[in-house]
Amino acid sequence: MMSQEVEQVAEKLRRPAHALAGLRALTPEQCRQLDQALDQVCAQHRHAISDSLRRAFPRVLRRWLLGELERELT
């Protein structure tokens, strides 16, 4: 039986819960910490990418290149 927390991490990583069965050994609190760590690294990457794009291209060019997609990074 998978805990809700394990299923949440698996869902986030787009894996069936049984593929990450090793997470069952973790407590709900540990699962939450892992979940947060994933969110944090994802946010770090998003910021780094957003900064890189800002540095590399002027705003108009960014809008032209990415259009509405740029909103994903804000």
């Binding site: 290149l65 990415l66 990074l73």
Partner: protein, 397 residues
């Protein structure tokens, strides 16, 4: 089961999750295979974030002249470049890669998932691969190098090996190679003299490469275990004592026992009778615990025949502490491996109560075959275990 492989997998996961210091200490208790699955899933997930943006930028980069696309990589930095490259046709990405400065390529590799760039890695010319590898060595980024080894051709690996005169670097990279089959193959690409030099680095205390050397020997196949293990066993007792100390400290006996079992007879005899094994009373119980927990009795018991008298006493003393359940597992290994001789020799050194316990279990295993049962009883008598047989209620001739 695998302490060193688990630790290197943990480092790789920490890199993917950008974890600092001792964050998420519970990951340290997860088995290697689970950490690997989690790393693959997290890496894949991170790579698919904002994929449409990277696809669009990749289309732009593919449309630009090669020199301009290389300039774009420099401008957007390594993380974004790695994401864009991951969405580009491999041939185009390879054309751009040769125009990107080597230091930047090395940084891009840190953020690249090699599984998503396997075609590109194959297409990058070998001189560029070598230059990037040398840059990573300069930065001591052995972890990233190890992640890429699985995806490089033999020719590219040969070129890198030739450009790397220091075997210590190779050992450090080997610790992080994902596929153990690939590790075996890469070690075979090294000339025997260089394999020898790598093993002799165990002598160099100042570089502390014991974990790297042990990891290498633990993960290669039987024939290489024997070759590399024999090379290590040729060293003087002090070096071997350091190796055993490290194995004991880090509880690596489950990995070490198959290495000892692979050694040539002379090397086995030398290793199993090391004074250090006798002097430290914790070693033998650790060995037997590993043999029991990891079902290694069939390779551990035959080693008892190579022990000198004091070491046999030590083995028997530790064996006498085994639980009834462990004795059942020993008995099964004795039956399957025809290990009655070393077993009886150890038994005669144990306290009488333990002899009776062992004999009762061994007899229950042997009794399926009357001829075997007779043979076992005869052997026990010859070994002076008549009284224990009697106390176990077994009639003798």
């Amino acid at each position: 089961m695998n302490g060193l492989a688990q630790r290197s997998e943990l480092l790789k996961l920490r890199q993917v999750l950008s974890l600092q210091g001792q964050a998420l200490p519970f990951l340290e208790t997860m088995p290697e295979a689970e950490l690997r699955r989690l790393r693959a899933a997290a890496s894949e997930w991170l790579f698919t974030q904002h994929q449409l943006i990277f696809r669009r930028l990749a289309r732009l980069a593919a449309w630009l002249p090669v020199w301009a696309a290389a300039l774009l990589c420099k401008r957007v930095g390594p993380l974004l470049s790695a994401r864009i490259v991951g969405e580009m046709p491999a041939r185009r990405a390879a054309q751009i890669a040769v125009r990107v400065p080597v230091a930047e390529l090395a940084s891009i590799c840190q953020h690249l998932d090699p599984r998503r760039a396997r075609d590109l890695i194959q297409l990058v010319p070998h001189p560029v691969v070598v230059a990037v590898a040398l840059e990573m060595m300069r930065q001591q980024d052995y972890l990233t190098m190890g992640r890429f080894v699985d995806f490089l051709s033999d020719e590219a690996i040969r070129a890198v090996l030739e450009a790397t005169p220091d075997e210590a670097v190779l050992l450090r990279v080997a610790l992080f190679i994902d596929s153990k089959n690939r590790l075996d193959h890469v070690v075979r690409l090294l000339p025997p003299e260089r394999r020898r030099r790598a093993m002799l680095l165990a002598l160099d205390q100042s570089r502390d490469l014991l974990n790297e050397i042990l990891s290498l020997v633990f993960h290669v196949n039987h024939a290489l275990k024997r070759e590399l293990g024999d090379l290590a066993a040729e060293q003087d007792e002090q070096v071997l004592a350091r190796i055993i100390e490290r194995v004991q400290e880090q509880d690596l006996w489950a990995e070490m026992l198959p290495v000892v079992a692979s050694l040539s007879d002379a090397a086995q005899r030398k290793v199993v009778n090391l004074k250090m094994l006798r002097d430290n009373p914790e070693v033998m119980p650790s060995i037997l615990r590993a043999a029991d927990q990891h079902e290694l009795w069939r390779i551990t018991l035959p080693l008892a025949e190579l022990l000198d008298e004091p070491m046999r006493e030590e083995f028997a003393r530790a064996g006498a502490q085994l639980s009834t359940e462990a004795i059942q597992r020993v008995a099964l290994a004795v039956l399957i491996g025809e290990l009655w001789e070393p077993m009886m020799d150890l038994l005669r050194r144990m306290p009488e109560a333990k002899q009776v316990e062992f004999i009762t279990v061994l007899k229950s295993f042997a009794s399926v075959d009357p001829l075997l049962e007779q043979r076992v009883v005869r052997l026990a008598e010859q070994r002076g275990l008549g009284q224990a047989l009697h106390l176990a209620g077994i009639s003798t001739s």
